[in-house]
């Protein structure tokens, strides 16, 4: 069985001094140090990144990583828009299911702030279909369409969405590596300018730089020697149409539903066993849909449930969501997010989460989505 | 007999009032209105151009008749604001309309008479047996420099005419053309806005060419203004067509319905044809219509048209009701739509 034995994340935010591969190098060195491993002990690397090709004309990243690691091993890059990190992790787990006694390094990284917001927005819309791009639908535009549809169908208002951002910003204030450390109020969210109606600036995750890395192993001698470890009980990746308009329903992400069902089946546990979750809140509406599609809440009741503050740290709830600050407050360096989510669950399960440590958690779930729901990765970890 | 089988027109939704422009430049709006006799003009949106408007008017023209599009072997696009300096809008239009591909297409330019000149050529091509039908489009998103008189008059619109031999609603009984080299209004390559010779655009230009063209057609046909139910002239402003009609011997009653410039502005190549659209809403079978265009540079095409009994039912299009669907915009919005800022 595959275990995670180490996790390192860089600061997430506007990291002017660091290039993409500076961040990759920092994450690699960080996680090797954490686990007291040398570069020569890594048997394979999986790298998640979305935009280096589009923004920097930089491809063939596996070879770049080989230059950093100074070894000759298999290295693969995965891309699934914002689920690039989750996809890299999924491939790494599958690699370990097929190869025994190996140590695998998984890194997710993204550099977004070297470019103007328009260039970044245009690049991110590569996650959408050609027709969506041609209609001038930005990425926020797609989620805004979903949000508008959801709010109208279930009779909620923009105010319901704001609770997601408020909760996640509170969590971000407890996480030193988060992009945003400031707490915000529901009024702050409602007063922020529109990005794409009904989503506002404070409903939307930011443009950030960052890198995160984990080390996976199925070598039992290695696991026994390590101070911290968590079991990877399941990792499932499911895809759906790239076009929002071709999906069966506009108010659900089917890929999330199917990946979750498969992951829970593989892990042999129930939804109520999960005490901690990192879900994909690229926009406030996305967290509400995630909670419903993952099976924690019933379809359509998310707008109501979020107002109860039940998933916020410190309220004694059974399931705490996005203690890292989520994508909203921790930041969303696209390729790094999927790994950061898994890393945060690892920290919680190994009692390393300091100010935001949730008590008595045995199982955790990470949920990473690409585009408007074209890819979903659900990973379940156990302590 | 060659003539018009069906027609279509498109006026964009937006209007700007003369006073909205005048007050920016510190002019008294009443003085401007008195001098140009224009209340407001039609403005195309930021994402519209002569091609998109032509598609609207041509689709309208083709929607009311059951014509096999493979029989439309002539497509002519007349404009002063072609989307490209080199690349035919006529073929872009034809492709979107599903006319393919054994047809002759070209774009024409002769200031405001680009399309009426094309009508004459199309008529000849049909008569020679080359094609049963011809589609001729006039379309402009008229430009005028700021703080210039053209700013009050230059407007947007499109008219499309489907010419043919059978089931005509309007017969083209006869026509004439009068041309000279008269630089009254022009635009050099690469320049965004046209330039003009001020008062030179009047007597030696507009009036001279229209009068000579009209007189030679009257002489050729033996007809006089009193024989016509309607007169339609090119309308650079609200005053010129009224003055030239009077000097030729038309009464105000004969031209009043065609004076669309007062509330739509001067849509350059579509200008006189929009006046014709207004008249066709009311004209009766047997009516003779005198149509006279003017293009700077300069020239004038005049036509004797006769209304047939086929101008009825779905072949006759509503005009006044359609143009009442409008929305007023401010001066900054106007500049934004015209991409001047």
């Amino acid at each position: 069985m595959t275990h995670i034995i180490g996790y390192y994340t860089t600061q997430f935010g506007e990291l002017w001094e660091k290039s993409l591969f500076d961040l990759v190098e920092e994450a690699i060195n960080g996680v090797l140090k954490q686990t007291s491993l040398s570069n020569k002990q890594i048997d394979a690397v999986f790298f998640g990144n979305m935009l280096a090709g589009v923004l920097e004309n930089n491809l063939h990243s596996p070879s770049k990583i080989a230059e950093i690691l100074k070894i000759n091993i298999p290295i693969f890059r995965a891309e699934a828009a914002c689920a690039s990190g989750g996809a890299a992790f999924n491939l790494a787990k599958n690699y370990l299911d097929a190869n025994s006694n190996k140590n695998v390094l998984v890194i997710g990284a993204e550099k977004m702030t070297d470019y103007s917001p328009e260039e970044a927005i245009t690049a991110l819309s590569a996650a959408a279909s050609g027709e969506e791009q041609e209609a001038g639908l930005t990425f926020p535009g797609l989620y805004a369409m979903i949000a508008n549809f959801y709010l109208e169908k279930y009779q909620y208002t923009e105010k319901n969405l704001a609770y997601v951002s408020v909760k996640n910003h509170y969590h971000g204030s407890l996480n030193e590596k988060a992009h945003f450390r400031k707490k915000i109020s529901v009024e702050d969210v409602l007063k922020s300018p529109y990005v794409a109606y009904p989503l506002k600036v404070l409903d939307s995750s930011p443009i950030s730089d960052g890198a995160a890395a984990v080390i996976l192993t199925n070598n039992y001698d290695m696991i026994k020697k390590q101070k911290y470890s968590a079991t990877v009980l399941a990792s499932e990746l499911i895809t759906d149409t790239i076009s929002l308009k071709e999906r069966k329903n506009l108010d659900e992400i089917l890929a999330t539903k199917n990946a979750a069902n498969m992951a829970f089946k593989k892990a042999k546990i129930n939804r109520r066993d999960i005490g901690i979750a990192e879900v994909h809140d690229c926009f406030s509406i996305a967290e509400i849909l995630a909670m419903e599609d993952l099976g924690f809440w019933k379809k359509g009741e998310g707008g109501k449930k979020i107002k109860e503050w039940g998933t916020m740290y410190g309220n004694g709830g059974d399931l705490i969501v996005n203690t890292s600050g989520g994508l909203k407050a921790a930041g969303h360096p696209v390729g790094a997010t999927g790994i950061k989510q898994i890393g945060e669950i690892f920290l919680q399960l190994t009692k390393q989460a300091e100010k935001r440590q949730v008590k008595n958690v045995k199982y955790g779930l990470a949920h990473n989505v690409g585009g408007s729901g074209g890819t979903a990765v659900v990973t379940i970890l156990g302590s | 007999m060659i003539g018009i089988v069906s027609y279509g027109f498109y006026i964009p939704k937006y209007r700007i009032k003369t006073e909205s422009i005048a007050e920016v430049w510190g002019k008294n709006p009443e003085d401007v209105k008195k001098s140009l006799l224009i209340e407001e003009k039609a403005v195309a949106g930021i994402d519209e151009d002569s091609l998109t408007m032509a598609f609207e008017s041509a689709s309208s023209a083709l929607s009311t008749v059951d014509v096999d599009r493979s029989k439309i072997k002539i497509v002519l696009f007349g404009s002063e604001t072609h989307p490209y300096a080199v690349n035919p809008a006529s073929t872009i239009l034809a492709e979107f309309l599903g006319i393919e591909k054994n047809y002759l297409a070209y774009d024409t330019e002769f200031a405001c008479k680009a399309a009426t000149g094309a009508l004459i050529s199309a008529q000849g091509l049909i008569k020679s047996g080359y094609s049963d039908y011809a589609l001729v489009t006039a379309s402009d998103k008229g430009m005028g420099k700021t703080h210039d008189v053209l700013e009050y008059t230059a407007a947007s619109a499109s008219v499309s005419l489907l010419l043919g031999k059978d089931d005509l609603i309007l017969e083209i009984l006869d026509f004439e053309s009068f041309s000279s080299d008269t630089p009254d209004f022009w635009r050099r390559e690469g320049m965004r806005y046209p330039s003009h010779g001020g008062r030179f655009t009047g007597k030696p230009s507009y009036f001279y060419h229209i009068e000579e063209s009209a007189k030679s057609l009257f002489k050729k046909t033996g007809l006089a203004p009193k024989d016509f139910s309607y007169g339609v002239f090119h309308m650079p402003n609200g005053k010129f067509p009224v003055q030239v009609a009077k000097s030729l011997g038309f009464s105000f009653a004969q031209i009043k319905d065609s004076l669309t410039v007062d509330y739509l502005g001067n849509s350059y190549t579509a200008s006189a044809l929009i006046g014709l659209m207004a008249v066709l809403e009311k004209a009766k079978p047997g009516d003779l219509i005198f149509l006279c265009s003017y293009g700077s540079g300069a020239g004038s095409d005049s036509f004797v048209l006769r209304v047939t009994k086929n101008l009825s039912g779905k072949n006759r299009k509503e005009f006044i009701k359609i143009i009442k669907d409008k929305k007023y915009i401010s001066y900054p919005t106007y500049l934004k739509f015209m991409e001047m800022i």
């Binding site: 209609a135 109208e152 794409a196 | 998109t52």
Partner: protein
């Protein structure tokens, strides 16, 4: 500059959906667009289901705020859809206007 070949291929598809009526399934209004759409902002984008059940995205133009709702009846029209450079081929495409 957008590839002229891509525009050419796309226009054959656009032709098939012009002048068609449909109903709005979902909508939003974009305030922060990408570079090619800056001059049209802010603009609404609608997802429309045509009478033949085909679904199409497009900007909504010539509208009143009351038209921005699920169920609005619209018709597809031809407009310029994105601005590339002053040098490039013009991209014409589908937008919608309220009926």
């Amino acid at each position: 500059m957008i590839s002229p070949v891509k525009i050419w291929r796309r226009q054959k598809e656009i032709r098939k959906v012009l002048g068609k009526k449909g109903k709005v399934l979902a909508w939003t209004k974009i305030y922060t667009p990408g570079s090619d759409f800056k001059k049209y902002a802010p603009y609404p984008v609608v997802l429309v289901e045509l009478k033949n059940k085909e679904k199409i995205y497009g900007q909504l133009v010539d509208y009143k705020n009351a038209d921005l709702k699920v169920g609005s009846e619209v018709i597809s029209i031809l407009r310029k859809v994105r601005s590339s450079t002053n040098e490039g081929v013009i991209a014409y495409g589908v937008k919608f206007k309220p009926l």
